[in-house]
Symmetry: C2
Subunit: 213 residues, 2 copies
């Protein structure tokens, strides 16, 4: 994977402009996808000239690559902290909450990731099969141990995680649809979603005496 980042990060102004460009690129790439974005758009968004962008980065692909690199770190971080306290149900629900907060606070990152996966993950497939799979497998073993101890209801850990990812990221990736369907008064959609998702996963995770439903 060509991940040729900007080699210019020495002076204060250089770091400032690099940040400025990456922020603009995140805005553009997350909205229009990689192919749908042009350097002109990024330049306009950043308030810089096109050649100036290309002075700081070795082309459009390089900017995209840097964004993806940073993204993966940010994205895996909440999952890494899963299981550091005691109560398993609360622990998983806290992870749900954290993921939903990320959809609210970093929707552009979520959409950048979604765009990449949707189109076959051409640039991060190796990371998915490597670091992401390792971390997920590790957390699935933890969840399985909670199941074996009877602390949460029996379920498939991998699919539980898929459900958490999909329901929370939906509020960032499909925000246009969410707002269209909710119509007026969408300002509290994240609060309502929080209550709903907490209820959803708590229902499923809480063990019951009568196992059969």
């Amino acid at each position: 994977m060509a991940r040729a980042a900007s080699t210019k990060g020495n002076t204060r102004i250089q770091r400032q402009k690099t940040t400025q460009i990456l922020d603009a690129a995140l805005e553009v790439f997350s909205t229009y996808g990689f192919r749908g974005s042009t350097i002109d758009q990024i330049a306009a968004q950043a308030g810089l000239s096109k050649p100036n962008i290309l002075y700081y980065f070795d082309g459009k692909e390089a900017i995209h690559g840097v964004l993806l690199d940073r993204l993966l770190h940010t994205w895996l971080e909440p999952l890494e902290h899963l299981g550091e306290s005691e109560n398993p149900v609360d622990e998983i629900c806290a992870y749900v909450t954290r993921k939903l907060e990320m959809s609210r606070d970093y929707p552009r990152e979520s959409r950048l990731f979604a765009n990449e996966i949707l189109q076959g993950a051409p640039n991060i497939l190796a990371e998915l099969q490597g670091p992401l799979k390792s971390l997920t497998d590790e957390k699935c073993r933890l969840i399985q141990s909670w199941i074996d101890a009877g602390e949460i209801a029996p379920l498939d850990p991998h699919h539980l995680i898929f459900s958490i990812w999909s329901t929370t990221q939906h509020y960032a990736d499909f925000d246009v649809q969410v707002k269209a369907v909710l119509g007026a008064s969408t300002t509290d959609r994240f609060e309502t979603a929080q209550t709903h998702l907490d209820h959803l996963f708590r229902s499923m995770l809480t063990p019951r005496r009568t196992d059969g439903i």
Copy 2:
């Protein structure tokens, strides 16, 4: 919305080729997005020449428009049938199953839709705010009546629907990630998902005597 479809559908061969082109375009658009796709790719996929494609459709956008039109009809159809039998919980779970089957059988349509929404729904925003919202609101009133009758647990109907859409479509839109994380033996992922999602929503929907969790 420019929805200039092919006006050529009279002879047998014309209908055949139109279908052939639309199928090829669905394959390409769903994989690379609108901007990421070229007429060359569609032509190659369809086994036709580029000018031949443009003889049948008034440009790239027209093909995309026809696909989106057909998609919306297909996509809303399962939701329209929600509530035609008796048991509310089974009814909603059947809808979940139907949606999951669609992710399995029509992943390209799902990704085409996801691509469009993700990038702000430039071509179907009106349909989301109109037909989709109307239908969703109607079904939410139905769900609310089930809640009022105590037949399912109290919850937010809109967010329940969001959860159903996101969890089921995840298996089409994020299939690359699902397969990467599951690693080997991913052939039964839809069966496992089916069991998991049925359990997930059934847990949430089934009313309890003791209301507090």
